[in-house]
C-alpha cells in the first residue's frame, strides 16, 4: 500500500536518506530499524510531508504523496506519532482527539457540523477510542497533566482519531518500562487486527521483534537488510552495523 521509491533527502552535505526503497503490504506491521542517525525519523517526516524529499517518490495506494499538501495527507490516510511526545497540552484529553477527529475519511463533511457541531455519534465514538486507549476516565483532564505512559497512549489515540489506513509510529516505546512496552505490543497488534497498516520506527527490540511482520534495516540512509524478524536477528551485516565488525569477520561493514 505504501511504496517508497529511491527516496533521497540531503540536509546540506548530510545524506540523511540516500536511496531508500521499500514496499509495505496492506495490513502488515512493517519495522524500520537502524542505528542512531541512520535516517529512520527522516523517512517518517518525508512520508508525512514535514520535509520535501530531495529525490524519489512516495506512493500511497498509487497516489503520489509528493503532490499532497502536508495537512491533506491525513485525509489520504496517513497519521503519525512523534518521537518526542507532541500533544496539545493545554487542551483536555477529549479535545485532543476532537481536534484530530475525522467522521468519515475520504468524504467531505458538512462545514458547519465539522467545525461547530457536537453530534452525539461523534461523542460516543471518541469516548470508545478513549476506552480503547485506557483513558476512558481521563477525558476531562488536561493532556499536559497526564503521566508519561498515558501521554504516549493519548498520542496513539490521536493518530487513530483520523481513521487512517497507515499509521507511522516514530519510536513509540522510547522511555517506556518493560510493562509499558508489553502493553504497547498489545495495542499495536490490536491496531493490526483493526486493519490498520503500521510503519514502526523503533530501537526497542522487544517491541520490534514481537509485532513486526517484516523489517528493513537502515544504515547511513541506505537499506542494508530486509526480512522477517528472525532473519534480521541472524543477519551478519545487521549485527556489524549495530555492534561493529570484529577483526576476523568476513567483509567489512563499509
Amino acid at each position: 500500500m505504501l511504496e517508497v521509491r529511491n527516496l533521497v533527502k540531503h540536509f546540506g552535505g548530510v545524506r540523511a536518506v540516500d536511496g531508500l526503497d521499500f514496499k509495505i503490504q496492506q495490513g502488515e506491521v512493517f519495522g524500520l530499524i537502524g542505528p542512531n542517525g541512520s535516517g529512520k525519523s527522516t523517512t517518517v517526516n518525508l512520508v508525512c510531508g514535514v520535509f520535501a524529499p530531495t529525490d524519489g517518490e512516495i506512493l500511497l495506494d498509487g497516489v503520489d504523496l509528493g503532490a499532497v499538501a502536508p495537512h491533506r495527507r491525513v485525509d489520504t490516510g496517513v497519521a503519525r506519532t512523534f518521537q518526542n511526545i507532541r500533544l496539545f497540552g493545554e487542551l483536555t484529553v477529549w479535545q485532543n482527539l476532537w481536534v484530530a477527529w475525522r467522521d468519515n475519511p475520504g468524504h467531505e463533511q458538512g462545514w458547519v457540523s465539522n467545525w461547530f457541531g457536537r453530534s452525539p455519534a461523534r461523542r460516543q465514538e471518541i469516548q470508545q477510542l478513549l476506552e480503547f486507549s485506557g483513558l476512558g476516565d481521563k477525558a476531562d483532564h488536561l493532556a499536559g497533566n497526564l503521566a508519561f505512559g498515558e501521554q504516549r497512549r493519548l498520542e496513539l489515540a490521536r493518530a487513530m482519531a483520523a481513521k487512517p489506513k497507515l499509521i507511522l509510529l516514530d519510536e513509540p516505546a522510547a522511555g517506556m518500562n518493560s510493562a509499558e512496552v508489553k502493553d504497547l505490543c498489545k495495542r499495536v497488534l490490536a491496531m493490526k487486527e483493526m486493519g490498520i497498516t503500521v510503519l514502526l520506527v523503533e530501537h526497542v527490540m522487544e517491541l520490534v521483534m514481537n509485532v513486526t511482520d517484516r523489517i528493513t534495516v537502515l544504515n547511513f540512509g541506505k537499506p542494508i537488510a530486509q526480512g522477517t524478524p528472525v532473519e534480521i536477528q541472524n543477519n551478519q551485516i545487521v549485527q556489524e552495523a549495530y555492534f561493529g565488525s570484529s577483526d576476523n569477520a568476513q567483509g567489512g561493514a563499509s
Partner: protein, 305 residues
C-alpha cells in the same frame, strides 16, 4: 457621572481591541496590526455616517466588514512568517494604514457644512450620536452590548471544535498539521475574526469621541491591544476584560496624577506578569479554583434552601 461613563466607554472599546488580539493569540500569533484594523473601522464607519449620512448600525457593520476584509488580505502574506518577523510585518501594516488616513482628504458639503476626513487636521464632526439625540448612557450601552456579544461569541467558540483547533495550532503547529489541520486557513480565519472585532471597536470609538486623527492609531495602541490578553491570560475571555479594567481603570485613570510616569508602571507590569505569572493573571489553576469555589457556594445555597 459623565466621567465614570467616559471610563466605561474607554474600557469597552479597549476590551474589543484586546479581544481582537486575544483571538489571534490563541493560535500563537502576536500581531500589532489590530490598530490598523481599528483605524479602518473608525474611518470607514465615520465616512459612512458623516459623508453618506448612513444610519449608525449599517455603518458599523460595513466598517467591521472592511477591517475584516483587510485582515483577510494581510493574513495570507503576514502569517507566512512567525514571531518577531510577524511583529515587524504587522507594524508595517498599521503604519501604512495610519499614513494613508494621515494623507486622506475627502471634504464634502453635507447640509451646508463641509465635513469629512481632512488629512493632517484629522476627521472631525463624527456627530451621528449627538445629531440623533443619543445620550452618553445610550452610547455606553451600545458599546457594552457589542462587547458582551463578542465575549459570548468567543466563549462559545471555546466550546466547539473550532476553538479547540485554534488552541491546538497555538500549542504545537507541527502536531496540528499532522492531525490534518490547515495552519494557514486557521490563522487567516483568526486574523479575519480579529479584524472584524477591532473594526467594530474602531467604529464605536470614532462615533463616541466624535473626532479621530492619525495620532490615535499609533503603535502604542497596538501594544496595549496585545498586552491585555497577555496580562489577563489566554485561558478565558474574562482575563482580557479584567486586564483592561485593571490597566485603564486603575493604572491609567487611577494614577492620573502621575502623568506620563504611568507608562513606566505599565512596562513594569508587563515584565512582572511575564516573570511571575507567565500564563496571565487569570490562569488555568485560578479558574479551576474559582469553579470549585463557585460549586461549593451553589451547593451551600442548595443545602440552605
Amino acid at each position: 457621572m459623565t466621567y465614570l461613563l467616559g471610563i466605561f466607554q474607554t474600557i469597552g472599546v479597549h476590551t474589543l481591541l484586546g479581544l481582537s488580539a486575544y483571538l489571534l493569540l490563541l493560535t500563537g500569533q502576536l500581531s500589532l496590526a489590530q490598530v490598523g484594523f481599528f483605524a479602518i473601522g473608525a474611518y470607514v464607519s465615520g465616512i459612512l455616517t458623516v459623508i453618506f449620512t448612513w444610519h449608525i448600525f449599517p455603518a458599523l457593520a460595513i466598517g467591521a466588514f472592511t477591517a475584516g476584509f483587510f485582515a483577510f488580505l494581510v493574513g495570507f502574506p503576514a502569517l507566512r512568517v512567525k514571531g518577531l518577523m510577524l511583529v515587524v510585518a504587522t507594524i508595517s501594516f498599521s503604519e501604512i494604514v495610519r499614513l494613508f488616513f494621515f494623507n486622506l482628504s475627502w471634504r464634502v458639503n453635507v447640509n451646508g457644512l463641509e465635513v469629512g476626513p481632512d488629512s493632517t487636521q484629522g476627521f472631525r464632526e463624527i456627530r451621528y450620536f449627538a445629531a440623533n439625540g443619543w445620550e452618553q448612557i445610550h452610547i455606553v450601552g451600545l458599546i457594552w452590548f457589542v462587547v458582551m456579544v463578542v465575549m459570548v461569541g468567543l466563549w462559545w467558540l471555546d466550546r466547539v471544535r473550532a476553538g479547540a483547533v485554534l488552541r491546538a495550532v497555538g500549542t504545537d503547529e507541527l502536531a496540528a498539521q499532522s492531525s490534518g489541520i490547515n495552519l494557514t486557513m486557521v490563522k487567516v480565519a483568526a486574523m479575519t475574526g480579529g479584524g472584524v472585532i477591532a473594526g467594530i471597536g474602531g467604529g464605536l470609538f470614532a462615533h463616541s469621541t466624535t473626532y479621530v486623527d492619525h495620532h490615535t492609531f499609533v503603535i502604542l495602541l497596538a501594544t496595549f491591544a496585545v498586552s491585555y490578553p497577555i496580562i489577563g491570560g489566554l485561558r478565558s475571555v474574562m482575563g482580557t476584560l479584567l486586564a483592561v479594567i485593571f490597566i485603564q481603570g486603575v493604572i491609567v485613570e487611577g494614577l492620573r496624577f502621575m502623568g506620563d510616569y504611568r507608562n513606566l508602571i505599565f512596562g513594569l507590569l508587563i515584565i512582572l506578569v511575564m516573570n511571575l505569572r507567565p500564563q496571565g493573571l487569570l490562569d488555568g489553576h485560578l479558574l479551576e479554583d474559582m469553579k470549585k469555589l463557585l460549586g461549593r457556594l451553589t451547593k451551600g445555597e442548595k443545602a440552605d434552601a
